[in-house]
């Protein structure tokens, strides 16, 4: 198991390297850079000379391989460089905002999974009854509705019914947890709906499959209470594939937050991402993409590790 984990962690390096290279190259292929956006935005006339000087200051005039190596050297020493727009360290830009994003993502994930597992199970156990149909309609809608649109609807609803609009600044969690949670629950729900839908559908189909297994019949033949057949015999097996989805979808959840944060006026990573892209802030974009990539690979690894814990066949295999 340890060996396996070590190997998997080692394998993360080439994956991340690939992501880094791809991001770097793609940003450079797209025409335009931060200097043009910055200077043109000020309006007025800018000489080519000023542009050149600014580029030189930011290191954009160096040959691409050198720029890449500089960036890599920074990454290895955990120095993400400075934002090309604000000039502040990238780590600081991300650091001040990441807490909020993580909180919303975790809230969304926890609420979704807590809803999805019982929902999927009930749907499977009452397969082809009205309960199942209601759940299936609910989950299909979750897949079909984009989270930003749902976010906008939520906002409208809150505004017209409760006369509540998102605050300009959010209360930090440690100041007033309750107030903070009541503010963040709406974006969490908006972005978590899809997550809940995906997980619930997975749980449903996997419970249906497991309930057909021979060992379920064995459990019933032993006279085990139906409740125990489901909770002890079926759930543990059915949750194995669900764990994969929970892990992978968590990474997608952060992607979904990019837009939802805009809608709810949340100053998180997603918003930072949008700003960085619109400003062509290469250093910041690169760092954010790498961050997401790390989250993604780490979730993958955690899922596989969790498999080992949940499934004795993997553990002893």
């Amino acid at each position: 198991m340890l060996r396996y984990a070590a190997r998997r962690i080692a394998l993360m390096v080439p994956t991340l390297l690939g992501v880094a290279l791809l991001t770097f190259v793609m940003l450079r292929i797209v025409p335009g850079d931060v200097v043009e956006v910055k200077l043109r935005a000020d309006g007025g006339y800018v000489t080519q000379e000023i542009i050149q000087r600014e580029r030189a200051r930011l290191g954009l005039d160096k040959p691409l391989p050198v720029q890449f190596l500089d960036w890599m050297r920074g990454l290895v020493t955990l120095d993400l460089g400075n934002s090309m727009w604000t000039g502040r360290p990238v780590a600081e830009e991300i650091g001040t905002r990441i807490g909020l994003t993580i909180q919303v993502a975790l809230m969304a994930a926890i609420i979704s999974v807590l809803i999805a597992i019982p929902l999927g199970t009930i749907s499977a156990l009452f397969r082809d009854t009205w309960i199942d149909y209601v759940v299936r309609i609910f989950t299909i809608a979750g897949l079909a509705v984009p989270s930003f649109w749902l976010g906008m609807l939520t906002l409208l609803l809150l505004l017209t019914v409760f006369h509540w609009s998102p605050p300009v600044t959010y209360t930090p969690f440690f100041e007033s947890p309750l107030q903070n949670m009541s503010q963040l629950i709406w974006p969490a729900l908006a972005v978590g709906y899809r997550y809940a839908a995906v997980v619930a559908r997975m749980v449903r189909s996997s419970i249906i499959e497991v309930m057909r297994e021979d060992y379920i019949r064995t459990a019933r033949a032993k006279g085990v209470f139906e409740r125990l057949v489901v909770s002890r015999h079926a759930m543990r097996n059915a949750l194995l594939p669900a764990v994969t989805v929970v892990g992978l979808e968590f990474a997608f959840l952060i992607g979904g937050l990019v837009v939802t944060e805009q809608v709810f006026n949340l100053n998180g990573i997603g918003r930072l991402f949008v700003e960085a892209v619109s400003r062509n802030d290469f250093m910041l974009i690169q760092a954010l993409v790498m961050l997401l990539a790390v989250v993604f690979v780490t979730m993958n690894l955690l899922v596989d590790m969790l498999y080992g814990v949940l499934d004795p066949r993997v553990r002893h295999g």
């Binding site: 340890l2 060996r3 057909r212 297994e213 021979d214 060992y215 019949r217 064995t218 459990a219 019933r220 033949a221 032993k222 006279g223 085990v224 209470f225 139906e226 125990l228 002890r232 015999h233 543990r236 097996n237 194995l240 949940l310 499934d311 004795p312 066949r313 002893h316 295999g317």
Partner: protein
Amino acid sequence: MTKLLSLDAMTPPKRLAGEEQPLLSVEDLRVEFATSRGVVRAVDGVSWSVRAGETLALVGESGCGKSVSALAVMRLLAKPVGRVTGGRILFQGRDLLALSESEMRARRGREIAMIFQEPMTSLNPVLTIGTQLAEPLQIHLGMSDAQARARSVELLGLVGIADAERRLGQYPHQFSGGMRQRVMIAIGLACNPRLIIADEPTTALDVTIQAQILELMKDLSRRLGITLVIITHNLGVVARYADRVAVMYAGRIAEEGPAERVFATPRHPYTVGLLRSVPRLDRARGGMLETIEGLPPNLLAPPSGCRFAPRCRWRQAACDADPVLRPIGDGQSAACHFAEAMPPPAEPASTEAGAMRHVGQPLLTVKGLKKHFHVPLRGFFGGTATVKAADDVSFTIGRGETLGLVGESGCGKTTVGRVVLQLEKATGGAILFDGEDLATVSARRMKALRTRIQVIFQDPFSSLNPRMTVGGTIAEPLRKRRGFGRAAAQDRVAELLDQVGLLRDMADRYPHQLSGGQRQRVGIARALAMEPDFIVCDEPVSALDVSIQGQIVNLLAGLQARLGIAYLFIAHDLAVVRHLSHRIVVMYLGRVMEVADRDTLYAAPLHPYTKALLDAAPIPDPAVERARAPRALKGELPSPLAPPTGCVFHTRCPIAGPECRAEVPSLREVRPSHMAACIKL
């Protein structure tokens, strides 16, 4: 035993003298399954009963309704497709079908336990054996964790699992198939039930393990006074253990009665046919196996009148009327108008079909064949282990000859077949086909040789492409490899279908529209399309029902006689192998134990393993079975990762001495043209 009872504080069910009230009686049971193509009456008015302390065998081929009627007793039919539409199931005088679900649940595992066919899938893979064993104890008997644990240890001991304390903490995948079935039996016994229903309890197991499990079940049921219902397709299995036998066919009971009577004087043509079509080790080998021609009826639209009539050789006009199951004396009943006139299941006229053998240069020579697999070991420091799937295997096959390759699962017989086919590269040794070494010939030459070597696989369900018609499957090699035009290929396909006994219009059908036996015929036709000199048959009949098995064996024998094809016939069933083979190789854990002519091997086996295999094979005759001593072979197949030193068989060998651990016995000619690898001979 006394310990068991004291802990349990329960008296075993007593069998009262002259107790006539059956413990369980199924009366006029009807079960339907709703399928997309219509309603299948899987069980159609079936009655059987079993008295306390008795062992009843429900016998029949797949789809006859035997398992369904047992699941109906447990009320475990797959909902909502399967449902009981009529009849009663009386257990200790109460109708189980009238019980509430919770009353029924309280009886499952407590009063009636069930053991299922597939030990590999019947235990929950993510729960420990201890948890699964303790469940019924805690639910039905309200035991505490400690009590349940103590009783679990006792139960595992009872079913012959050593080191029980430690094994309770293990998971099913850490047990072998035979061991898992022992665990299933322990779970069944947990609450001292009155009745155990065992659905094909040994079908998935090797023959030596099968004998152990059956012996265990019979012994325990006698000692604990448990009534047994054994469901099986194998008449041999029940001959030794059953008191009564009920033969089912197409959702109905064909015949029912005391085991000796049913085996000695069967009163239904289906029983007669079944008994005749099983190849038997205790009788002279006939030229052709007797078979029951045709297929069981489709229960979506069963024929009116006697359901067996279309396949019955004694069919008469009266058979258009539905025969009722009626008593015919000596406790026997049969559902046949002519039950009294049934001939005895005498052995078929035993004319040795002139077994053709071409002498001369052998077609295939395998010399010192080795196939080793490297398996990564788990653990932090890893490393690899070597599994010697085949070690120093040598044999020859002449033109038109059949060599039988026999052994239990894991003995390497399939690996040898795959290496001969060049699907695996040998680790060492030589394979000469018609004088050419297959390991060294050029890829081009190999391609040419491949057409002369064909294969028939075990599983007729997965070895045919489900999206190709039968005709397309057979025509493919003709068109791609032998350059047939479309029309020529079509003609040849029709000829091939004739040859394997299929109708020509089946060329347009897809595999799922065919039965298992028909699919296997398609597989044979596909192999024949290349006009091979040699076919590797890898367990070609082991997935088929008894009556179908005989048809395929006969077909293979007939084709050999006509076309002079040589076979490497790989199988675990000694009786089937004997029927087809000229010479036989017995393998165990990758090594050849014995090589001999068929008649010599079966009449005078030398190696203790061959003797044990022959001894373990059940014979469908209660008189023979009951007279013989309990089987000698103990223990499990050792792990191929850590095979025993010296003779690989010494751990299970009844005559092994300390010297067997030291030396690997070489295969030597003990008697003229009879080789064995044992130093004790």
